[in-house]
Assembly symmetry: C2
Homo-oligomer: 711 residues x 2
């Protein structure tokens, strides 16, 4: 790849950025798009749907950028919780390390690469026609002592990243503790979840839970709630919700609806009949739900799991930490998630079933990750130029233009890969959800790890070793030659990954800002939705966005000494991400639950992995360039990095797993002074009620459906 | 190797066995050897030193075999504790699996191997000149369908071993729990050890421990003891002990001593002067000890570690399980070992120092294990025939005899390896002891693992890949080709390992019976020891004997389908071990501490590793023999084995790590009925006193030293 091609790509994408920013600045001001761009403000009642037209609505204004920029960490914390803070700190962390690495790379490594000629000299006169390889380590002669500059750069940057990692881990751990100290009493702090409750004949789960915990924790046990099988009720309820919404829709603005639908299809003239039919159906379902509920409240539908409440945080923590029963596969305890965070559909009860589902999830993830590229490659091979011409004959004339064919052959495979990659986060979330986790947050954390490894395997390794699954596997299995093979293949892909950052990276954050899919959905569904319908404020899908940011971090760390030219583009990416995600936290997303920073260990591990990968590549590169001492002296670095990681695991990780006795007891003491605790205990017992067993909000007797059709 | 050579070896070793058994039967009856062969009975006062001569003392009698055979498991438990039971059960476990594998191997595999000719047919007429390879899998033609017999044998034996492993794990776990239930209140159940206690200026460790635990555990905290630095006192005390013994020896039988010593060296005529000088020295040392002790009891010598006592087992367990402080590297708690089990010399206090010492231990173990063979090979190459002739010219005439040279060239290298292997257990114990464990039992468990891996690496892998360290490493690092290389190399060493079992295995248990080293020591030291000297009852060095038994288990499992001929010899080994170790538990060893069966997980893991190794070799062998489907269908087996192991880890391992809340609370409830608990609490507080700080038993004022020299 030559410089001019890169410049073209950068130019096109910069123009796209400006265009998107401008469009967004205008579109976000249109009241019809409020649901897409400011759902959070809408739900909080800060923005009102004003239909009055103003000229300024059509003029792009950058005030949202300023607002996002000025947001302080405290404000962000109140808006997005500790998880939001951790996410933004991940981006600023990357900004910091790549600024440092950028200074080292551009001022030290780039000049060395350009003027230590192996392949060709850097041609200042004809700048645009230089190959990009001039800027990479490949340009340096074998055995050249200039490579020591790279050697020291690797050491310095590793040291800097480790220092910063330590600082961040410490900061976020302290944030987590102070979050705990400042929190009000919350139900999940006083609750544990018990599974695999053994049942003896003639004794209900309810009774055995009560007798067991009263026996073991006489002073701290408060009460409990047995989980019930409600899958049937859940499906009935979702059906009734659909019906309810359909009726409400038909009734809300009958004249308009009749007009529109009549216009479009000419089929639905008799709304009254329809509403009546729906209402009848709704009543039937309600009757069923009532029957099921009364059944569920009987002992027969008890699941072998229960939420057990304690009088103190320390009591709950003690019970969740220790093995309760002589048989470790019975009475398995764990800390309860927040009530809003509970994932109700999947309450695996028995130890064996949970274990098997976990194994299946591991197998599914591995198979999916390893064989992900197979359909991609097949689709890419099917959709080639000839096929296109055959399917769409009218394209023939266009496809003969060289520029168009270049774009299609260049972009199409990458586009197909990107489309397939979009499928990864939801699939991984699905796999995680059958893994037996009982909270959405745990599902998301688990999915985050899976998406990250899938991305690294399928984008990084597949590109680098550009080959089949078997090829990749055989490289991985031959441990000895990994550094060598990486050193040969990774620098060769430098220009690919530079353009990857510019094209995929920049556009991915822009599409996040623009919210293309929600925008399209809202445009399509607009005719069918009533404006009074409740606004669904989304929560940020961390399992999609964290791995994306971390993957660019990996690219930056591995390539900073091979091809420092990647760093400015990465910095641009992280700057965009910084502004855009802060804006989204203000306007779009509202947290649905709080893990209190549990995503940071993932970030930390990913950074350590990136560092190790980079050091292995460095060691291989120096060996390849016949600078043996540098290659040998590179070996202590991964060992030191692993030791640093081990230290962090011991020093900080426990804080992210459980709170210490000291903190728990201190918080409990504080509560004892509080007079509101009796009331809190009362609420605690009803906090973990399966939503399916709560009174339905979509009743056929509700006011809106009873009022006569034409009032 | 041919059959006759094997038969010769077996004949020689059987004769040796009979000889050793006879000698032992006579020697054990001599009162002068009681200290070596029945120290336990002597210490318990069951055997008395009878000096009257009887004829029957010279007639070998096998009554000890009958006694060892008849010993029931309850008796063994009372003699050797649960650890002894686990050790003997390991041997019976091996007996069971190799009986089963032996039936399969001898009845099914051996005939198939003999008559499915690849190399040569089995020659019944000239039985003794058959090569041993006739009996191995190498004798079967490539692609022969007879290999399916081996295939099914591998499946059946794996299934049998897993079934038995499950049964044993379950049995020993239940034993462990019932041991806990039946135990009297023991100090270590109520105690935790706290390390890395943070110190603030102006506040002693003592005060901060008290305030911290009173704050966190107001209802269960009882008391505590701060550990003190006593290394100086310890060295002084051992010095005084030496002096004391020397004086006591001189005084005990002055006439005899004077006579003997005067005879031998002609130097020590004036015992009185000597005794006076020693006594003076002893007094000086005592004064020093007194000074040091008074210093140690002051705050300045406090270590940052303490034993903390609780009123209930549950209280202690809770405190030891949970992270106490906000900073996970401070107030690090763990369950306390038994008082007699505490390893006092090494109380690492700070988190960092302990962590670094652990890392150093890991590095030392790895380096020692990997480079163990280097000095062995060097010594082997130095001590060759020419060298021997040069060093000991008088041997020249003997060394010319062919038989002698054969024995020397054949046995010398193996002898040197064996001598070096003898060094492994003490070295590994030393490494484990600096690793920061605070109990002898943990040191032993850790050393046991280290010795096992060192043996497998240096005896099994080094023999199989018969090469340098680098060669072995390169094989291990190339994951893909491991099965193939193993399949090529392992069967080739079959005859070596068969003779290894006969020579090393049989003689190792016999030397255990004969206690050669203690016997020699006792013979040498006899003139210098007074008969009244206290008897030191040894405890069985599990870290030496468990790995040895397990290594033979590994040999049996890996070779049963390759060369079933190994099984009868292994069975003989385990039968010998069964009788001999039971005899030693009766007569020789007394347990010094009780891990309550914690060695079983090591046995289980070793068996699983052996199974996996065997399955990998099987898969490689079938591929090598060009029976692809058998090789492919072998793959599910390791996966199933790993799943089985994972299940056992979840189902049984927790029982070996900690006791459940249910058991703890039940035991605590029992205690509440007990009236002796107040007294127990009183004793508890003084149980964990550094032995160095107790009143000395070797005082210059003690009665025996004050009585005048000639009474």
């Amino acid at each position: 790849m030559i410089v001019s091609a890169l410049l073209t790509s950068v130019g096109i994408n910069t123009a796209l950025c400006v265009l998107f920013f401008t469009c967004y600045s205008i579109l976000r001001k249109q009241p019809s798009n409020y649901k897409v761009y400011v759902p959070r403000l809408l739900a909080e009642g800060i923005s009102k749907r004003k239909n009055r037209f103003k000229l300024e609505r059509l003029i792009p204004s950058p005030d949202w950028v300023a607002k996002a920029w000025k947001l302080s960490e405290e404000e962000l914390f109140s808006l997005a919780g500790l998880d939001g803070v951790v996410f933004i700190r991940t981006i600023t962390f990357c900004l910091k390390i790549f600024t440092f690495a950028g200074i080292v790379g551009i001022l030290m490594l780039l000049p060395v690469n350009c003027w230590a000629n192996q392949m060709q000299e850097f041609d200042v006169a004809d700048f645009a026609n230089n190959s990009l390889d001039v800027f990479t380590i490949s340009n340096i002669n074998s055995g050249s002592n200039w490579l020591w500059v790279h050697f020291f750069a690797v050491y310095i940057v590793t040291g800097f990243i480790c220092l910063l990692l330590h600082h961040e881990y410490k900061y976020i751990a302290s944030k987590r503790i102070s979050y705990f100290y400042s929190s009000k009493p919350q139900p999940h702090q006083f609750t544990i979840l018990v599974r695999s409750i053994p049942t003896s004949s003639g004794c209900s789960v309810n009774d055995s839970v009560e007798s067991f915990f009263k026996e073991l924790y006489p002073s701290t046990y408060l009460s409990h709630v047995v989980v019930r099988h409600t899958s049937k009720i859940q499906s009935l309820l979702s059906e009734s919700k659909n019906l309810y919404q359909r009726i409400a829709q038909l009734r809300s603005d009958p004249s308009q609806q009749r007009h529109k639908l009549g216009d479009c299809f000419g089929l639905f003239g008799q709304n009254d009949q329809l509403v009546d039919r729906y209402r009848k159906q709704l009543k039937d379902i309600e009757e069923n739900v009532r029957l099921e509920k009364s059944e569920a409240s009987m002992a027969g539908e008890e699941a072998r799991a229960a939420f057990v409440f304690f009088k103190s945080r320390h009591g709950a923590a003690t019970a969740s930490h220790m093995q309760q029963s002589v048989n470790p596969t019975q009475w398995v305890t764990e800390p309860a998630p927040e009530p809003r965070d509970v994932y109700w559909p999947f309450f695996f009860e028995s130890f064996m079933r949970r274990w098997i589902s976990k194994l299946l999830a591991v197998v599914a993830t591995t198979v999916f990750t390893i064989s992900f590229l197979i359909p991609v490659v097949i689709v890419q091979s099917l959709v080639n130029l000839n096929q296109l011409e055959y399917l769409f004959p009218f394209l023939t004339s266009i496809l003969t233009i060289k520029f168009v064919t270049q774009i299609i052959t260049g972009y199409l495979p990458s586009l197909i890969l990107q489309l397939f990659l979009k499928v990864v986060p939801p699939v991984m979330r699905l796999i995680s959800s059958i893994q037996g986790y009982i909270s959405n947050s745990n599902i998301e954390i688990s999915a985050c790890n899976k998406v990250l490894s899938c991305t690294i395997w399928n984008v990084f390794l597949a590109t680098v070793f550009s080959g089949s699954v078997l090829n990749q596997l055989s490289v991985i299995l031959d441990l000895k030659s990994i550094p060598w093979k990486l050193a040969v293949s990774v620098p060769a892909q430098a220009s690919f990954f530079i353009t990857y950052v510019v094209t995929q990276g920049w556009t991915s954050v822009l599409s996040e800002l623009f919210r293309i899919i929600p925008l399209i959905c809202s445009l399509i569904s607009k005719p069918f939705t009533s404006p009074e319908q409740e606004i669904d404020v989304p929560s940020i899908p961390y399992h999609r966005d964290v791995p994306r940011v971390l993957f660019f971090g990996l690219l930056g760390i591995t390539y900073f000494f091979l091809a420092p030219l990647i760093l400015p583009f990465l910095l641009a990416y992280f700057c965009l991400a910084y502004i855009i995600y802060r804006n989204q936290f203000i306007n779009v997303y509202a947290p649905k639950y709080e893990t209190a920073g549990k995503f940071w260990p993932i970030v930390h591990n990913s950074m350590i992995f990136s560092l190790l990968l980079m050091q292995i590549i460095a060691s291989g590169s120096f060996a390849l360039k016949k600078l043996k001492p540098a290659s040998a002296w590179m070996l202590p670095l991964p060992v030191l990095t692993l030791l640093f990681n081990e230290y962090c695991r011991k020093r900080f990780l426990p804080v992210f797993i459980a709170y210490s006795v000291e903190s728990l007891i201190n918080k409990d003491r504080e509560d004892q002074k509080d007079t509101g605790m009796a009331e809190f205990y009362g609420k605690l017992v009803i906090a973990y009620k399966d939503p399916a067993l709560l009174p339905s909000q979509y009743s056929s007797n509700s006011e809106s459906l009873i009022t006569p059709l034409v009032s």
